[in-house]
Amino acid sequence: MFDFIVGHYAYWFVFILMAIGLYGMIIKCNLVKKLIGMSIFQVSIILFYVAGANKWGATVPVADPALGTADPAKYINPLPHTLMLTAIVVGVATMGVALALVITIYKRYKSLDETRLLEQMRKEDDTE
């Protein structure tokens, strides 16, 4: 039981971060806070991959002449790190698009509160 919690502490942190991110995205009303939640959520998944790439007693995956290149167990797995580079870029691009949308919404509606924006949208729908 102790090993289940402390031995896998990296994964526990990942899921706590994921829960915080989802809470931010769903419960918070302010659009910018939703974006912060989204960013935390994406970062938690990146941390999951990086945590999963680790090996006991292994070092950075740069070829070390002292260790040699024969035994792959001496270097941590670099593939999830490469995959997460792409995921980070996707996160940056999504954040860029989302911030541009937030700025446009603010210019048009002068409010960033989601409940007020939805009310305003439904009112404009009915008067059309």
Binding site: V62, L85, I88, V92, A100, I103
Partner: protein, 145 residues
């Protein structure tokens, strides 16, 4: 960013540091294919150097260094370099992005290494231009005085 007030210390330090950031970024780009680094990381660093000048000297003055209108065309050019490398491999008879048919070197592995290097340069250019253009677009319509 509503009013821009010039500050001599910030201005001096950022103008001093920015070229070194670009130098380090070029180092990161060119070592990306066999050690930590790469196109995206280096591109972000160059973009950070350019945005640093925008923040410290004011948006209008920084347009002299990297105009707003360069963003999208340079970004497309970067992706076109990437795509062009792949297209060159197809035209030489291999699969898309099969660098070994490019014959840039006698050894197949060195040929692949140079192929990835060309792709990284394209990616670095694209990322730089696009990140600076995102910054410019978010500030559009809010000129600082």
């Amino acid at each position: 960013m509503r009013t821009y007030r010039p500050n001599p210390i910030v201005s001096l330090v950022s103008r001093l540091v920015s070229p070194f950031i670009v130098m380090f970024a070029l180092y990161v780009i060119f070592h990306g294919h066999y050690s930590p680094g790469g196109g995206f990381q280096g591109g972000t660093l160059i973009a950070a150097a350019l945005i640093l000048i925008r923040l410290s000297e004011g948006n209008e003055a920084a347009q002299l260094q990297f105009p707003r209108s360069w963003g999208t065309p340079l970004g497309s050019l970067g992706v076109l370099i990437y795509f062009g490398t792949g297209l060159a491999t197809v035209l030489m008879g291999g699969r898309f992005l099969d660098y070994s048919v490019l014959h840039l070197s006698h050894h197949v592995s060195m040929s692949r290494s140079y192929g990835i290097l060309m792709v990284e340069i394209g990616v670095g250019l694209a990322v730089t231009a696009i990140l600076v253009s995102i910054f410019d677009n978010l500030l559009e319509g809010n000129p600082d005085v």
